[in-house]
Symmetry: C2
Subunit: 338 residues, 2 copies
């Protein structure tokens, strides 16, 4: 790697002059500056950004720490976050903690305040007091996709009203006449998706319907898990006319299980999810779901993190993301009359 000294030597100037040319051109005579710039070009010298970041106290880099990049929701969030960061002049590094709190802690120690100016944390297993300590001593930390707006965490966050998402799903199924409904509750990265299922159940309860305990399964977030759980559910509760899943992966797996069992979707059984990942409109039948507007939430998260870095005193502790929206596609229909 070419050093500043080599550039200085080739341009017959001191290292300080090269540094001046790079940082503050008016201090250097134009002929000298030209000679330095030519030496930089000839040698392919690249200013050391670590050194520059140290000197300026900033690195123009944000980090996004997430628990499981293999879950398709995260890449969609990453794409939108990366675009928003770039638009604001920041780079975005993604760190995948692989659902392991130890790994998350190690990344945080490595990047916060050193490689990155701020960290966006999604669905971590790291305890809040550790995150708070890190945010106090190193770089700002923002939690993205906080699922419980009614109980703000001790750190700044972008919250999404997931209970409302569950409520929208419940109202949709009720309007279609469904009463016997199976619940698949995701228990994946970041814990049980209970805000979603509680929102769903609250609306059902208002309509006089209590969930049948045997028709509720808590499972990991994946298509495979949704498939297996739906098989199990339909074996014990064949009269169910609808399945509500707290995320799209589970719902997609459930729809495939129903098709395998020879139950038409939605004519025999309706299926609805939450999130609206890309796959939701790509499967057949296309999935009815409640969109949490991932790109908008990602953009809001990046913008808030940058504000937190630039003007920490002005930042509200919790910002509520755009409201979830029902997206009706082909996987839900009126309850079949026997």
């Amino acid at each position: 790697m070419v050093t500043l000294s080599e550039v200085a030597k080739r341009a017959h100037v001191t290292a300080a002059t090269v540094s001046n040319v790079l940082r503050n051109r008016e201090k250097v005579r134009p002929e000298t500056a030209d000679r330095v710039l030519k030496a930089i070009a000839d040698l392919g010298y690249r200013p050391n950004l670590n050194a520059r970041a140290l000197a300026e106290g900033r690195s123009s880099t944000l980090a996004l720490m997430l628990s499981n990049i293999a879950n398709p929701f995260y890449p969609e969030f990453v794409s939108a976050a990366e675009r928003a960061a770039r638009k604001a002049g920041y780079f975005l590094m993604v760190c995948n903690t692989d659902d392991d709190a130890e790994v998350g802690r190690a990344y945080l120690n490595q990047i916060a305040g050193t490689l990155a100016d701020g960290v966006l944390v999604m669905n971590t297993d790291i305890k809040f007091n550790e995150l708070c300590a890190s945010a106090t001593h190193s770089a700002p930390i923002l939690l993205a996709m906080w699922e419980h707006p009614e109980t703000p965490p001790a750190l700044p966050c972008i919250a999404v009203d997931f209970a409302h998402a569950g409520a929208l799903a419940a109202r949709h199924l009720l309007e279609l006449g469904h009463r016997e409904i199976g619940l698949l509750i995701g228990d994946g990265c970041g814990g049980l998706q209970d805000a979603r299922s509680n929102g769903f159940r609250a609306v059902m309860r208002e309509a006089g319907i209590e969930a049948d305990a045997a028709a509720v399964l808590q499972i990991r977030d994946s298509i495979d898990a949704g498939y297996a759980a739906c098989m199990q559910l339909m074996a014990s509760r064949p009269h169910l006319t609808a399945i509500f899943a707290t995320n799209d992966l589970l719902a997609i797996g459930a729809a495939q299980a129903l098709i395998t069992l020879g139950r038409a979707v939605p004519n025999d059984v309706s299926v609805i999810g939450i999130t609206d990942i890309q796959l939701a409109h790509q499967v057949h039948p296309a999935l009815t779901t409640v969109a949490i507007q991932t790109p908008a939430v990602a953009q809001l998260s990046i913008e808030s993190l940058i504000r937190l870095i630039q003007t920490p005193e002005q930042q509200p502790s919790m910002v509520l993301g755009p409201p979830p929206q029902l997206i009706v596609r082909a996987s839900t229909g009126p309850r079949r009359m026997n």
Copy 2:
């Protein structure tokens, strides 16, 4: 952020002593070292890694630059690469260039040799001479998933024999009796997947079968594009009994189009892809495909990049990844006899 000076002040020592405690403990008397460590703990001081990386000439961080994180192949590669990096004591930062060569160039300038010790580049649109210049002047660059082992690039790479993958798919369809086959050739991140289709066509040609020009479509890598292309193909060539797609996303979209058209998969039409992404076994019918063994290739890529950083002179310019393997699932079957 707590500084080294504040630690020194609290421990009643000089900054140099704090630095000695952090780097080379035997130079400092045990009582003094204890006092410094206590001050570090009390203040929550974290050694500035930029400074340490500068001092040691290394940052223990690798970067992975990829073109489109929204394509499910990449998150699977990232997961495996991250695990391999961590096992070897390196962090992995992921940079998503969003299919934009300008963005890739900016990331490379930002990270190579400064934030990262080495860069793994996948399917870039950046020209080779630029990558070579960057590799010469800053940090080692390794190309992952090089599709043309017969023509090694000017940079170190991990190659995968994609022509062989195409040949395996062709042999499988021939053995099942298929003769009228449609080709969907991906033209996504990193350009046309022609090694795969050429390998397929070479085997077909040996069997005396030339591809019907109208039954070959070049399309972007996505489920949606595969769906639309298969609809178009079956409208103009209803006699096709099999579809070969150069990647799984296209194949999954094609299978869904066939089901929508009322053509049974595989009884009426067989479908085969290449890659073996997770989704391939999760869709119904599960997809027959040629596995390129993504986790093994990711691991090999990380290990080779680390060797390139540590012992640049010993690194062979091209390493061939494990051979592709046919995975027979439910989407292919014998040609239907009319």
